[in-house]
């Protein structure tokens, strides 16, 4: 290790460091509390102002209270200093505070190292393509500051930037090789802080009026599915999530009692597919209704929801199998059936009265089901994103007064009707539908496809899916939400695009993102193993992987070294012409010795080939003039003299 002498920072270097600080902290402004961004912005502006006025940097008397105050602010905001968000906030603040302390080269090095580190923190929040690209730009910016720092004032702005870009470009092959071949370890290595993963909106395990209509406004992607074969017809695309059996009059929740395994009888061939599910912090997966129970890696609970051990905090890929026609728990546990008939006492009397009247008319269960569906398909029920607020007897109010609701209203009302009529029923949450991206063939399911439907248990048939929304608005199931809602209700622009080119652009962009997610971000230890198998490393252990990696990196290093160090002296134009002249006289059997000066050659020619001498003397004179005179730009005399050579 060598210790450079402490050097003061050259004044003109500071803007580079400001730029580096800005490039590495700016994107955090999008998700940080406004006061934090404002504070770092103010500090940066203050540092810039001091630099502009060429004034002294503030001493400890300002910095220490500032550090204490900002720490206190972060503590108040995040209730901790150690979590992910708090840590990032501290780093951003330290970065800007360091700008008030830029005295020596060492300070600048600290700032730059911090800048490189800060680049990493952006990936906590986004790993999209634009983030990746922006960070390459920011990295180049930081590297440029580094080059400027060590090159001193002789390092001019444009060449410095170009040099930084060149270094980044040359580092890219190393990145590729290491990314593909460096032995991957799957994280996490230790417990992560509470806020390690951003909360996202998405389907939850509870359903109350309004929970789905919020989701309907979001065009975010919930999952992407690639089917091994054909995509099943749209009305079969029910993506089963949590099943909610407990009702307290307002909110539906799953029954915690889930021990018994389900029994399912397949009536159609299994459908295999791979789901890429966006992180939703839930312990269940979305599977095409109904998932086959022979899924090894996952659990499957009594209500036929695929479960995982840890909440889904990363985008995950899951290979699943489903059957679309099935018989589910034909012989159900009586205790379960009883629980699926329970209703809160004293609530919704009119609904219960209606159902009682249906029950008293006898007939079989399916008639009752159809009666309820027929009720919904009547003219006076409307499907809308903006239903009126409901009071205590929410089902009564919905069925007999407002009659305007979203899928959760219909599912809840239907289930309550069924239970009151003596048919075991429950609510199923999930997604319905999806859109095929023609670019990559993936089926894309968005948050706006979130849906709630009902399941009733019929004797001899088991649990049967009934979608009351389909009764009120068939187009919801056939064409998606954008078609089902009246035109007056505003959906985000992305969901309502009808023009073909806009749709094509969106498909293209989403397919690129999907490829990025699958191939780049989804490159994990398993993928690495697969890839190594494909290239012939049948059993890659760390030893031959390291050998391969080392030789590839070495090769890269060697070729880049050769390329970088290769240097051919550039001849100036006069020299090039002179070499041409030497070739010409070689035809007259005059050979030029490398150590001969032009004048020596001229003298030799005067003796050896007097005939050639006058023409050659003109060339020599013109050459010497072109090369060594004060104004060597004029090459015409030399060219003319050479042209006169025999």
């Amino acid at each position: 290790m060598s210790k450079p002498a402490p050097q003061t920072l050259d004044h003109r270097c500071a803007p580079w460091l400001f730029a580096a600080a800005l490039a590495t902290t700016l994107p955090h402004a999008w998700h940080q509390p406004a006061w934090l961004s404002l504070l770092s912005g103010l500090i940066l502006a203050y540092a810039g102002w001091l630099w502009w006025r060429n004034e002294r940097l503030p001493g400890r008397w300002l910095l220490i209270p500032l550090v204490v105050l900002t720490c206190a602010g972060v503590m108040l905001e995040f209730r901790t200093l150690l979590g992910r968000d708090a840590g990032v906030a501290m780093l951003v603040l330290f970065m800007s505070l360091k700008l008030l302390e830029l005295r020596s080269q060492r300070d600048a090095m600290v700032l730059i190292t911090l800048g490189y580190f800060l680049l990493l923190t952006h990936y906590f929040y986004s790993q999209s393509i634009p983030t990746g690209l922006w960070l390459i730009v920011a990295l180049t910016m930081v590297t440029a500051a580094l080059i400027r720092l060590h090159g001193g004032p002789a390092s001019k702005p444009l060449p410095t930037l170009r040099y930084a870009g060149l270094l980044t470009l040359q580092a890219l092959p190393f990145m590729l090789v290491l990314y593909v071949l460096f032995p991957r370890i799957s994280g996490p290595l230790w417990g992560l802080p509470q806020d390690a993963h951003s909360a996202r909106s998405g389907l939850t395990e509870q359903m109350s009026p309004g929970s789905f209509s919020d989701l309907a406004l979001s065009s975010e992607i919930a999952l992407r599915v690639r089917f091994d074969g054909e995509i099943p017809p749209r009305d079969k695309l029910y993506w089963r999530g949590p099943v909610m059996e407990v009702f307290d009059g307002r909110t539906w929740r799953p029954d915690p009692e889930q021990k018994k395994p389900p029994s399912i009888e397949a009536l159609s061939p299994p459908i295999r597919y791979e789901s890429t599910i966006e992180p939703n912090q839930q312990r269940w997966l979305l599977a095409l209704d109904a998932p086959a129970p022979d899924l090894k890696e996952f659990g499957i609970n009594r209500t036929l929801t695929v479960t995982i051990r840890q909440p889904l905090q990363q985008r995950g890929r899951f290979a699943l199998t489903s059957v679309t026609d099935y018989r589910f728990n034909v012989s159900e546990d009586p205790a379960v059936l009883r629980r699926n008939l329970a209703l809160p006492a004293n609530l919704n009397p009119r609904t219960r009265a209606l159902a009682e009247s249906w029950r008293s008319q006898g007939k079989d269960q399916s008639v009752t089901v159809n009666r309820a569906l027929a009720l919904f398909s009547g003219d006076d029920f409307a499907y809308t994103l903006q239903p009126p607020l409901l009071g205590e007897n929410s089902i009564d109010e919905f069925l007999f007064q407002s009659r305007r609701g979203f899928c959760e209203h219909y599912a809840a009302a239907f289930v309550v009707l069924m239970r009151a009529a003596g048919i075991p029923a429950r609510v199923v949450g999930g997604y319905q539908g999806g859109e095929r991206n023609p670019v990559d063939g993936f089926l894309v399911i968005r948050q706006s496809d979130a849906h709630a439907w009902a399941e009733v248990w019929l004797e001899g048939k088991g649990w049967v899916r009934i979608d009351p929304t389909a009764a009120v608005s068939p187009s919801r199931v056939e064409g998606g939400i954008a078609l089902a809602l009246p035109d007056s209700e505003a959906l985000p622009a992305l969901l309502t695009v009808r023009s073909d080119w806009a749709r094509a652009v969106r498909h293209r962009w989403e397919a690129i993102n999907n490829a990025w997610n699958q191939q780049v971000l989804g490159y994990n230890p398993e993928r690495q193993r697969e890839l190594l198998n494909q290239i012939g490393l049948a059993n890659p252990d760390w030893k031959n992987l390291t050998a391969l990696l080392a030789s590839l990196v070495g090769l890269l290093l060697l070729s880049l070294t050769a390329w970088t160090l290769y240097h051919r002296p550039r001849l100036d134009p006069a020299q090039r012409l002179w070499h041409g002249a030497l070739k010409r006289i070689a035809k007259s059997k005059v050979n030029y010795a490398p150590w001969e000066t032009p004048l020596a050659l001229q003298r030799r020619i005067e003796i050896e080939q007097p005939a050639l001498a006058p023409a050659f003397t003109a060339v020599v004179n013109a050459y010497l003039k072109a090369r060594y005179s004060a104004d060597p730009t004029d090459l015409r005399p030399l060219r003319e003299a050479i042209a006169r050579l025999p």
Binding site: F117, F124, Q127, I136, Q170, F174, L178, R184, T561
Partner: protein
């Protein structure tokens, strides 16, 4: 210790480069990480751990990109020295205790500049420089002097951390260069004038203090003799000027070894004589120098002064 020294000698190829221009080859350029480089590596490890822990795919990519940057930095730091041509230049005599400057000419044949170069002679102050693309630069390496006589340029370390500051590349230069160091002058009052024989070579008709013109200032000229007004006229474009006086050469000084205090040792005597030579030259009188075994007859002027000082510097001890 001796073994270590020999090992170093072998490893770092400490040998004279002679007095001809030479070009730095890979065999004599060495490279190690700087302290900042080690910190960078530790930061990368921390970032890598973070990327694993939070399963950040792009975090991995970033760490690998920075790894690549470090590796590439190695090549580029090395390249900053590789192929640099070095030619020994000149050096001007100085008085002991002053700093001697050895000029070295660095020539860059590449089409990109070489920035952030530093040179340092053993145990001396480092100097920084850069060489523009396809250009050359002359750089004076300071060496503090202690002793009169010939001073060989000590081993010079040429080093750079450019472009990234993460790696330190260096090479040892040992061009054959030497600089004459005069004894450090001790100013005692001049001895009385010995004779007034006129040499007949009158340099001017005026009196002793007649202004005769300007000449460039030498390192040995006291600042008091600088003609500031005249020098200011061309705003530092040229070396400083000193006024020169012409006077009758009637007065003649014999600066004799015998005249120096008897109790002084020979080195001190040389220093006193040096002081006298300078004082006599400044006073504009003719002076001669008499040392045991050699004598320089009385004269005046820069050449004469140099001759006297050389004799004093090289006087066998």
């Amino acid at each position: 210790m001796k073994l270590l020294a020999r090992l170093k000698q072998k490893l770092f190829r400490w040998e004279s480069d002679g007095s001809v221009p030479f070009r730095l080859s890979q065999r004599r350029i060495f490279i190690i990480p700087t302290r900042a480089g080690v910190v960078f590596a530790i930061t990368l490890i921390a970032m890598y751990t973070g990327a694993i822990n939070y399963t950040l795919a792009l975090g991995h990519a970033l760490v690998f990109l920075l790894c690549g940057l470090g590796l590439i930095g190695m090549i580029h730091t090395f390249r900053n020295l590789f192929g640099l041509s070095i030619a020994p230049g000149r050096s001007s005599p100085v008085f002991a205790g002053e700093t001697a400057y050895f000029t070295i000419v660095l020539r860059n044949e590449r089409q990109t500049p070489r920035l952030g170069l530093s040179l340092q002679a053993t145990d001396n102050v480092q100097v920084e420089t850069h060489v523009v693309a396809e250009g050359k630069c002359e750089i004076a390496i300071p060496v503090l002097t202690h002793q009169r006589g010939w001073l060989n340029l000590p081993r010079v370390r040429l080093f750079t951390v450019y472009p990234l500051g993460l790696l330190y590349a260096w090479s040892y230069l040992q061009p054959e260069m030497r600089c004459l160091v005069y004894p450090q002058p001790i100013y005692l009052p001049l001895p009385p004038e010995q004779s007034t024989t006129s040499t007949g070579e009158r340099q001017g008709d005026g009196g002793q203090e007649d202004f005769a013109g300007f000449r460039n200032r030498q390192a040995a000229d006291s600042l008091r003799h600088v003609a500031w007004k005249a020098s200011a006229r061309d705003a530092g474009q040229r070396p400083l000027l000193v006024k020169q006086f012409a006077g009758g050469a009637e007065q003649e000084l014999q600066l004799d070894w015998q005249l120096t205090p008897e109790n002084a040792d020979s080195e001190t005597r040389l220093c006193i004589l040096t002081g006298w030579v300078l004082a006599a030259e400044a006073a504009g009188v003719s002076y001669g120098l008499r040392l045991p075994g050699q004598e320089i007859s009385a004269q005046r002027g820069d050449q004469h002064r140099t001759r006297c000082l050389e004799a004093l510097a090289l006087y066998p001890s």
